[in-house]
Amino acid sequence: MAQVELSDAQLIARVVVHDDRHAFSELVRRHQSAVRAMLRRLAAGNHALADDLAQETFLLAYRNLRNFRQEAKFSTWLYRIATNAFFAHARKRTEEPRRDDANAVPDDEASNGEAHGEADHARAASLRIDMERALGVLSDAERAAIVQCYHNDLSHEEAAYVLGCPVGTVKTHILRAKQKLKTRLGAWAPERT
């Protein structure tokens, strides 16, 4: 017999009303990929850190689920928690050196640098590596704005909600980020004829 898949809202109601752990585990299963992937980009490819922050994100989400008023999508709310967790971590690690040098190798590189025979795949893999390095030179806020607007496909208003800042600030971060990326990704610029 086919099971009816419950919506996020129904699962949330079960967690809030009955403290249904199975319902919450289903929510985690549904959203873990998007949250972890977003945090990997924010963490400039540091997968271990990203997964730690993702776990923290879901713990905070569980503890604060009663306060989720559904004025945004559940995924957007999770992005907000995850981004705040990342910023909190970033504030703590001020004494650590930033990964802004070209030698910083994202965790993906080793696994993606080989076995791509086709030219398109090779190009995509190469772009991915270069982009991840380039994102690494952005400030945390700029990188977060780029990740929310492009990778998470959020509008500027939604990104402002996630980042907890005015829409104008999001636009400024994106503009500055693009200028930096333009310099950093110069090799990918189309040749002028």
Partner: protein
């Protein structure tokens, strides 16, 4: 997830014409990531395991809260014995000089009870 479709109007405002290729690269990179799904690999189980631990907190947290409040009150009482005694005498003198009806006493008791219950509910509202 798409690749920035929501932001087409706004992004034009914030974008220089010369940044079109950067925009295209960002979209291409986002598209490449869209096709990926990160396998769970025990992530959900780890989260649920971590959730199970704090669930035991309220069992000892509530009496501890009351004990701490009581301790704080006792410390204050011991630190300010004269002030408290004088305050008590003054209060008693005022009360003794005023005549209360049964209705006044009932209203006062109800008021104190309401304030106590409201305070207790406020303290406990976030506990699962």
């Amino acid at each position: 997830m798409g690749t920035g479709t929501h932001m087409s109007d706004d992004s034009h405002d914030a974008r220089n014409a010369g940044d079109d290729w950067v925009e295209a690269l960002l979209r291409a990179d986002a598209k490449a990531h869209d096709d990926e799904y990160l396998g769970d690999e025990g992530f959900t189980a780890r989260v649920m395991q971590a959730i199970a631990v704090p669930a035991a907190l309220p069992a000892w947290r509530r009496p501890l809260l009351f004990a701490l409040w009581g301790l704080a009150a006792a410390v204050i009482a011991m630190a300010l014995p004269d002030t408290l005694r004088e305050l008590s005498y003054d209060t008693l003198r005022v009360l003794a000089s005023v005549t209360f009806s049964l209705r006044d006493v009932a209203v006062a008791v109800l008021g104190i009870a309401a304030a106590s219950w409201a305070g207790t509910l406020y303290m406990l509202r976030r506990e699962p």
